[in-house]
């Protein structure tokens, strides 16, 4: 992880660490904070606790998003202080709706100049974001749509349950827009719970979301999504999401947390060790295996 972030994330980059509640790669965010990257534009549909930590860690100057909250808990206090009070510095924001953000990635991934959607009608959102533009269909019905611009991150970091050494990555459970963010990006880091043999991937090609061809680095980092979750591997650590509300309310407490849990540790491996085995055991779900399908042999 250290090398991937050092090589592929550069000061001033637009960085997308995607994952909709599921598969949010906190370990990558922590490594970016640890390496004290700066002036990043952070893009994510839901900034979540990870971007609250990164904004508090001083790596970001701008946020692109569609829903700014601690899911199921409340606010992101570090980001709110920056926006409401400019404390300790203003944070530039550019906001969309969820569908708008998804379609920005789709446009970026598809090499399109814009993407039309039926949204934003009679909403104030386009008034505060001039990049959301009304357009009339050139065809007979003349339907009014709004268009959003492509989002092409300099680097997208996506987590998956497993990939082979080449980066062919498989995801199950909620898909978010991992695929779209990866295809839209200039550079791609895939982080996985397990690196598996290529034959494992080839046995179930429908599950492959990201092909190794667009991947610049593959990092095996178990529990990298904590306190987010990896379907089938570990549950969301909701206790931590609740605790973050208290930690982030006070800048001093937040800084102390970053010192202890990010700067004070050399790697995610140390983070996993610091939480301890009992913590990870408690987050392990029961089993719910998928049925198998027969792809057939056509030799």
């Amino acid at each position: 992880m250290r090398d991937a972030v050092a090589d592929l994330v550069r000061d001033g980059d637009t960085v997308a660490i995607e994952g909709f509640t599921h598969l949010i790669c906190f370990a990558a965010g922590h490594e970016i904070i640890r390496q004290r990257k700066c002036d990043l534009t952070l893009a994510r549909m839901t900034p979540d606790v990870i971007y609250d930590q990164m904004v508090a860690g001083g790596v970001a100057s701008k946020l692109i998003f569609s829903w700014l909250g601690n899911p199921g808990v409340g606010s992101l206090h570090s980001i709110r202080r920056r926006i409401e009070d400019g404390d300790p510095a203003p944070l530039e924001i550019e906001e969309y709706s969820h569908f708008g953000m998804v379609c920005r990635y789709v446009a970026g991934a598809s090499n399109l100049p814009f993407f039309p959607i039926r949204s934003y009608y009679e909403s104030d959102i386009p008034k505060v974001n001039p990049l959301i533009v009304p357009m009339t269909s050139p065809y007979e019905d003349g339907t009014e749509v709004y268009v959003v611009p492509p989002l092409r991150p300099d680097v997208s970091i996506v987590h998956a349950q497993r990939a082979d050494a080449a980066g062919d990555a498989q995801i199950w459970g909620l898909l978010g827009c991992q695929k779209e963010a990866a295809f839209a990006a200039d550079r791609v880091i895939v982080v996985v719970e397990e690196v598996v043999d290529e034959s494992v991937i080839r046995k179930d090609p429908n599950r492959t979301v990201i092909p190794g061809a667009i991947v610049d680095a593959v990092v095996e980092e178990p529990f990298a999504c904590h306190p987010s979750f990896a379907q089938g591997y570990y549950d969301r650590d909701n206790t931590f999401y609740l605790a973050w509300d208290r930690i982030a309310r006070d800048p001093g407490t937040l800084d102390a947390w970053l010192d202890e849990w990010v700067h004070g540790l050399a790697s995610h491996g140390e983070y996993v060790e610091k939480w301890g085995d009992a913590h990870w055991d408690a987050l392990r779900p029961g089993a719910a295996l998928s049925g198998e399908v027969d792809y057939g042999r056509y030799a």
């Binding site: 909709f20 509640t21 599921h22 549909m45 839901t46 998003f65 569609s66 829903w67 700014l68 909250g69 899911p71 199921g72 980001i79 709110r80 926006i83 409401e84 906001e95 969309y96 709706s97 969820h98 569908f99 998804v102 379609c103 789709v106 959607i117 039926r118 949204s119 934003y120 009608y121 009679e122 909403s123 104030d124 959102i125 505060v128 339907t143 199950w172 459970g173 909620l174 898909l175 978010g176 827009c177 695929k179 779209e180 979750f229 379907q231 549950d235 969301r236 909701n238 999401y241 779900p285 719910a288």
Partner: protein, 261 residues
């Protein structure tokens, strides 16, 4: 109308909001579920008035059968056992934008008399007093879901004459304009608060008081909204939660009382 003192009620304000909202889903085939109370409402409806209800979450879970109360709209329990898991593009484009969603729940920090919602800022956008989460999927949900149900606690600061920001469009106040918009959705149809239930007047698109919760007076309602409410000619009393509904809420859906006490 019979007025019971609040102290004698054996259910909470949240519980009557949940039960009254769940009954709105009778016969509905699919519903876009939001965080918090709507989560419990939809799960209650699935166990009572709408056994065939497909729960749809913007995270891409379609036909979810959660074995525990989801902690968020992206909980892993929504994936295990679901009918389908779609990409977020498919969910918003093929399911929502194409008009397949029957009902969706929305709420917000502010609502106006026509059901427009603010989830973006209190104060000015440039220098907000309170920065709220923003749209999420709410803006497009408001436009495309065939019916919008709103669940919100009622207060002067939330039921306002003028929104600070219109995140999600409701009715315009001009039904001819609304009919000509060509949206697949018909906008908000009902609002359930901790005091009362409302529908929207066909002729004006204005929120109209339909029932008062037991123990709530008209003065209570008026004192907790920023405009003089239109009142239905046959205003009634909200049916309190049944023993069955309360048992499901307390024992199955929210045993820790996170959302209901």
């Amino acid at each position: 109308m019979s007025i019971e003192p609040a102290a004698d009620l054996d259910y909470t304000k949240s519980e009557i909001m949940i039960a009254a909202s769940a009954r709105q889903l009778a016969g509905v085939t699919n519903c876009f579920v939001g965080v918090g109370l709507p989560n419990i409402v939809c799960n209650l409806a699935q166990r009572t008035v709408a056994p065939d209800l497909q729960l749809v979450y913007e995270s891409g879970a379609y036909g979810a059968r959660p074995e525990r109360l989801p902690l968020s709209i992206g909980d892993p329990t929504l994936a295990t056992g679901a009918t389908a898991i779609t990409s977020m593009f498919e969910l918003f484009a093929y399911y929502l934008q194409a008009g397949l969603i029957d009902v969706a729940f929305l709420g917000g920090a502010q609502i106006d008399r026509h059901g427009n919602l603010n989830t973006t800022v209190i104060g000015s956008y440039e220098e907000p007093t309170v920065r709220l989460p923003g749209s999420g999927g709410a803006c497009e949900i408001a436009i495309h879901a065939r019916r919008i149900l709103v669940i919100m606690r009622q207060a002067q600061r939330s039921f306002v004459e003028t929104l600070h920001f219109r995140t999600s469009p409701g009715h315009s106040g001009d039904p001819a304009h609304d009919a000509a918009r060509g949206w697949s959705g018909s906008g908000p149809t009902n609002v359930v608060t901790d005091l009362a239930t409302y529908a929207f007047d066909q002729a004006t698109g204005e929120m109209t008081l339909m029932t008062l919760h037991p123990g709530v007076s008209l003065d209570d309602v008026r004192a907790n909204m920023g405009w003089k409410p239109r009142i239905s000619e046959d205003v009634g009393i909200t049916e309190p939660p049944s023993a069955d509904e309360l048992r499901l809420i307390r024992h199955d859906l929210d045993p820790k009382g996170v959302h209901t006490r």
